[in-house]
């Protein structure tokens, strides 16, 4: 099956178990995480920046992923940033 690489960026609460919730959403859809970074924000130590890369089947699936992430109460904001140039100090781009 044809796969599309997508990059999703989220601002998340710096709590225990948040990463598990995010990973659950991918696991439920049988999606593997190919790259992952989480880094606490310098300007607000209660929040972190999460960037992950996964292969989806189509853009519809990517949109659904973003909406499911957005439902998580520990996710403050989320977007598919594949088409954008990331400005982050996390460093895998």
């Amino acid at each position: 099956m044809r796969q599309m690489k997508r990059t999703i960026q989220a601002t998340i609460s710096s709590h225990a178990s948040v990463l598990g919730r995010v990973a659950d959403i991918l696991a439920k859809r049988h999606l593997a995480i190919h790259r992952l970074t989480v880094e606490r924000l310098i300007e607000n130590d209660k929040l972190s920046c999460l960037i992950l890369e996964t292969d989806v089947e189509n853009l519809h699936q990517s949109e659904q992923l973003v909406r499911q992430f957005d439902k998580l109460i520990d996710v403050i904001s989320v977007a598919d940033v594949t088409e954008k140039k990331l400005r982050t100090n996390v460093g895998f781009y």
């Binding site: 178990s17 519809h60 109460i73």
Partner: protein
Amino acid sequence: MKVQTKTAAEPGSRLTTGADILVRAILREGTDMVFGYPGGAVLPIYDALYRKKVRHILARHEQGAIHAAEGYARVSGKPGVVIATSGPGATNVVTGLMDAIIDSLPLVVFTGQVATKVIGSDAFQEADVIGITAPATKHNFQVRDIRELPGVVREAFYVASTGRPGPVLVDLPKDICAAQTDKVHEEKEMNLPGYHFTVRPADEQVRKLAEAIERAVRPVLLTGAGVLHANASDLLRSFAEKHNLPVVSTLLGLGSFPASHPLFLGMGGMHGTYAANMAISESDLLINIGSRFDDRLTGNLEKFAMNALIAHIDIDPSEIGKNVPVDLPVIGDAAAVLKRLNEVTGNAADKGKWLRHLQSYRSQHPLHYENDRTNDGLAPQRVIEYVCRYTDSDTVITTDVGQHQMWTAQYYRFERPDNWVTSGGLGTMGFGFPAAIGAQVAKPQKPVVAIVGDGGFQMTLQELAVVKELDLPIKIVVLNNHTLGMVRQWQEAFYEKRYAESIPSFQPDFVKLAESYGIRGERVTTEEEADQVIADSIHDPHPVLIDCHVKQMANVFPMVAPGKGLNEMIGV
């Protein structure tokens, strides 16, 4: 700030325990009833409950407690509150959490946890409840500091009952509840920066839908549980009547539109009416209000409403386009959207021809069932018709899942909202009977009838003890066909009648079982007996179990077979 870890505050002390703070916080949310089961890790909470005026319904299994809380939530509109102990107590509520999240029922579930210092050490009755319940809850919390308690409880109730409702779990380590403190800010503000929902729809989305409604010549409304959660039944009715829109209901949406209304076509989906399914199949505009396009409703997606513009009104943006591509999305609360639509829509196209066409489907292909009385006994559908005949429209009906559930959905006529309690999305056997307990304690004045199968009833029948203890006047109608009916029906249809494990060789005597709990039990095997016993017992001020021996081989029809479209029904 002074925090000590003791088992209880001493008399006269200014200190308060975490458990006391918890109970006060629950009371502050307007809840005075909890469903639960005690255990080691929640002993401090039960000690605090002992001192406070909270009504506690002691279930006989945590699954019974949480299904009762679901029934309470469904008919009262308020969050059902559950307390369970750590480990097995917590894992026993997982089915109920999953059931509640898929059917959007507000619950706040408090689970005990081992003391903070031993979490992660595989301590006695320890389970990773946050990990286990994360996918089964709208959100879950573990409290690690007594000062967090009031805020977390407030957030839990808020999240459970707003937006798309759902279950929230709060995991409470024993030492937090037993800890004492002299200073806790109990009116703490909520801190939920990542929680947001849209009630009022965007004008542009409403305008586009209004234009489509004015143009449509074959429109149909699909009403789901979202209409009930939003208390929007009256608005739905005025909207449908204003534009002469035929109405199809989902399983969970039954009661949101009166069954006797001329515009009502019945339930759609796998065991829906022919008229309902053909209306969807032939429509040019399908307006889904608060349903999630479940696969049991849509049938084969490739063949679903192929000629229709699809409008979807939902408070949960993640439902839009999840299963069915949507042309006209409207994000918002069903009541807010319907109110706005009623304001902005003008004169619509004439629907006379379309309505007459659907009426012909309805009169040519009504629901029907075989009833050869000389042959093989009591028709289960007949029992539902008797229950419907002898109860008024204010009666709460609960069911499990399976054949009895479908026959109830087909043959009981739901005229009013919030009287129908069933396990829709998860399809949970054992749900209906404890849910009836929750419904009855929420609405003591209403008649409550639990319609269950002999299979599902055996999964949670230990709650008969609660019914007797509280003398709840619930009527338990067991459609007893000595088989797991829906499993057997599918084996008959799709597995060449190989009835693997669906016809148990033994079952208990349900009448004697009821009597062993001190509950009146009746057995009926004929139409005459069913008619007489249901008429005679339905208004008994005490509980009654009616064991209805019905045809074993009766099947639920009509049916959309798996993989087929809604317009390919069999048994019409």
